[in-house]
């Protein structure tokens, strides 16, 4: 009986990536951009500039030529001076999601978690009428898989379907994927990078390119528990899952301390690179439940509101 119920409950799930409860909660959440980099097209995302939305922003002195309709007559009556009432300008914001689908992301639960976070962020963007586009870097020799910009609730199912169908196992490094993304993408907004950032390339250069393109960086490093806390001992031959390259190490137990130093250093470096460009950085373990990330960690870090 319970199995039947479970089966029926499963069938009702909107997507295999996130349960319906989570989707419901996500629909009421919103990505919290710091720089408010928006397109000039009117949208629902409040830009930093003054505008004609209904949301009050500030007062300023009246200047000749100002639209008389925005004079606050109540204040004029009390102070006998004209003040112009200002409103926030709601513009459209691009939400670009880049998923690293290289082989390194296949380790542990990393790639699935990336897809879950992408689904969540994409949903938040769609439900807030942002222009959500998705790039999946797979093979270096091919262009990234592309989910064209779309907005609105109607695009939810297409987004989830796209995410459910993508597979990892590529060989394209994340820096290459960013460059490929920028070749196609136009528009300001935020870029959510979901990768382990284990690349031989220059990630700082890629971040510069993103910043120059008017994209605020939301970098999420996803590492598996085995990468965070490897249990290696003795003499080993390590094989790179992406390139197939090998590296012989001896007394692996002795090297773990140095490994942790370098992993920590990479984390700090990525964080600094993001902060320099007014972006955000978060390092996650693929062992953490996605709900904890979305509804707790993202809130605490100010990624969503």
């Amino acid at each position: 009986m319970s199995e039947i119920q479970t089966e029926s409950t499963k069938k009702k799930q909107f997507t295999t990536l996130l349960d319906n409860n989570a989707l419901g909660r996500l629909e009421r959440m919103r990505l919290n951009s710091v720089k408010k980099m928006t397109n000039r097209r009117q949208g629902e995302h409040l830009s930093g500039k003054g505008g004609t939305s209904t949301e009050f922003s500030d007062y300023r002195d009246y200047a000749p030529g100002d639209d008389m309709r925005y004079v606050d007559w109540n204040i004029f009556a009390r102070l006998n001076r004209p003040y112009i009432k200002q409103y926030r300008y709601e513009e459209e914001m691009n939400v670009v999601i880049l998923i690293d689908a290289s082989s390194s992301m296949n380790q542990g639960n990393k790639f699935f978690l990336a897809k879950q976070i992408a689904a969540a962020c994409g949903l938040m963007g769609l439900m807030n009428f942002e222009r959500v586009s998705l790039y999946v870097s797979h093979q270096e020799s091919e262009d990234p898989l592309f989910f064209p910009p779309c907005t609105g609730r109607a695009s939810r199912s297409k987004l989830f379907q796209f995410l459910e169908n993508i597979e990892g196992g590529g060989d394209a490094p994340v820096d290459y994927a960013i460059e490929s993304l920028l070749k196609r993408h136009r528009g300001r907004g935020i870029v959510i990078l979901l990768s382990d950032f284990l690349t031989w390339g220059n990630i700082a250069r890629s971040f510069n390119l993103l910043f120059s393109a008017g994209l605020e960086i939301f970098a999420t490093q996803i590492l598996s528990p085995e990468e965070i806390d490897p249990e290696l001992a003795g003499d080993l031959r390590l094989i790179d899952s992406e390139t197939g390259g090998t590296l012989d190490i001896s007394s692996a137990g002795d090297l773990l301390g140095i490994y942790q130093e370098h992993r920590h250093h990479l984390e700090v470096e990525l964080s600094q690179e993001c902060r320099r460009r007014q972006g955000r950085f978060l390092s996650l373990s693929s062992g953490i439940p996605v709900n904890d990330i979305l509804f707790d960690l993202f809130h605490r870090k100010g990624w969503v509101r």
Partner: protein, 628 residues
Amino acid sequence: MSWLNFSTLANAWLFLLALPLILFYFLKLRRPHKEVSSLVLWQQVMDDQRVNSPFQKFKKNLLLLLQLLLLCSLILASMQPFIQASSEQEDSLPILIDCSASMGSIDSSGKSRLDVAKDELKDFINKLLPGQRISLISFHSTARRLTEFTDNKRVLLKAVDSLETVDVPGKLEDALRLCEAMSRVTTIKTVYLLSDGNLPNKTDFELPFSINYQKLPTASFNIGITECNARRANEEGWDLFIRVEGNSDVPVSAKVEIWNGLGKVAEDTVLVSKELPQRVNFRLNVDIEASFQVKLISDGKDSLEVDNYASIKIPKIRKLQVFVSEDLTGFRHALNGISGLVFHSEKNEADHPPEFDLLFTDKTSDDKYPSKIRFNIGLVPEDLKSTLNIETGDSGVEIIDWLRNSTLLQHVNLGEVISTDVPTTAEGSGSETYEEAGYEIFAHSTTGPVLLGKRDNSQLNYYLLFHTDRSTFPYRVGFPVLVNNLVQIAMQEASLTEVHGEKTGALVLNKLIPGVEYIVSGPNGFSQTIKKEEDSSSPIISALKAGEYRIKSDSDETKIIGVSLLNSHETLLKTVESIQFSELSVDVAKEKIKKDQPTWKYFAFFGFLFLIVEWWYFQRRPGRRLAT
């Protein structure tokens, strides 16, 4: 001390085992494959490690290094390494162990000198190196080889355990002669002497080897009886003299008790110090044979127990039994003036005692009469007949020299004695011929000896080599003096004037019936069966322990002889720092016996240590990680 040496150097070949070890190590080094998401971090780790760790290559093969160290340690241990104590290793080393009475003296810790010596010996034996053999020789008044040259530690340790002190003074000669005999078949460079130093400071021996004289620490204070004599006081009693000596600087009081079979007879208290030995006199009114035991009870410490007891047997007071041949009227006249004598001659054989105390004869036929002292007049000993001949000359012979300080010739002037009997030594013979035959020349003329003496076991024989009837001797003043001296000697030999406490060592068993088997039992389970043969001298047993020796037979009553140490040198625990030998003197070694130090156990320990480290290194958990 020199650097490390190896007893089994051939085992160095085992170092070749390192080659297969290295080979197998690298063959074994087929690394397990491990797929990681990316080598980015690991490559950085390796680059960093190469820069910061110059001993990376060393660390990479740490396991191999540990295995090589383990192998080396085990091989070195199997090579029997040792630190050589001296420049030359003694392959065959005799060790002389003093087992004399003084070695039984205990120190403040309650350990005897022999116990200390045993400890040192056991330590030495336990550190014996392969190829090194030792022979243990115990010595006291004589020497006994306990073991052949051997490296069998079990045999050696068993021999050491069997060592025990005997109650006799220590003498070194026999032990050294034993070593000399051993050196004829085995090369001996050095002999170790382990003693408390209570030895004679002079030893008549030419050393063919060097002696390492190891002197044990001396014991503390000791007090003991060093003399026990009795002298006849009158017809009914004896004076008993006890000499008590001690080595304390301050006077120590002690009680001297005299016991017989019925109980305590007398006692006295003495104060004894090193500078103040005491002589105690007791009057014993006994006219029968009686044994007395002397006990010394010290009020202070006393490190040697054996010298606190002495025993003396007082003989029955009787007259001297003198046999004078019928023809020797001159001697009979001379003897008549001396009281306390009973005369016998060939005539009244029925009244003869079993043994005479003194016998004067000029006939060989009187040899059938046993006597303690036999004075032969005009008779040549059988064994000297080829050397000595008594000729009759007209001019006679004059005595030119004699031993004036001997007991026999004390106050005897032989200067004007002329005899027509001329004792003449055969050509080619000299005084050494007599000495070799065991004779002592008391007087001699220009042609040869005129008075000889020889002790055959318990019998003392004197030979006057001219007949008094054919000389002027009976008419000289010296004649009765000589006879009187003989009587005095006979009195002493018969223990009628003076008796001494029997000392440990050789014990002569007098008055045994020939042909009868006796069982002699003594202290420490001593038991020996002896039988005196007809016409043989009195048997001698080796009484090495102080105490009572019981002589028992089926036909004769049990006799008891008390034997005591009675040795001042042993009691005073005198030690010598240097022993003078014939050509050189040997001082006490300044250093203790240097023992070669086997070090295999250290290498074995290091091997074990390397094994533990290797095990830990192989089995350890990954090191601590930084917090993420």
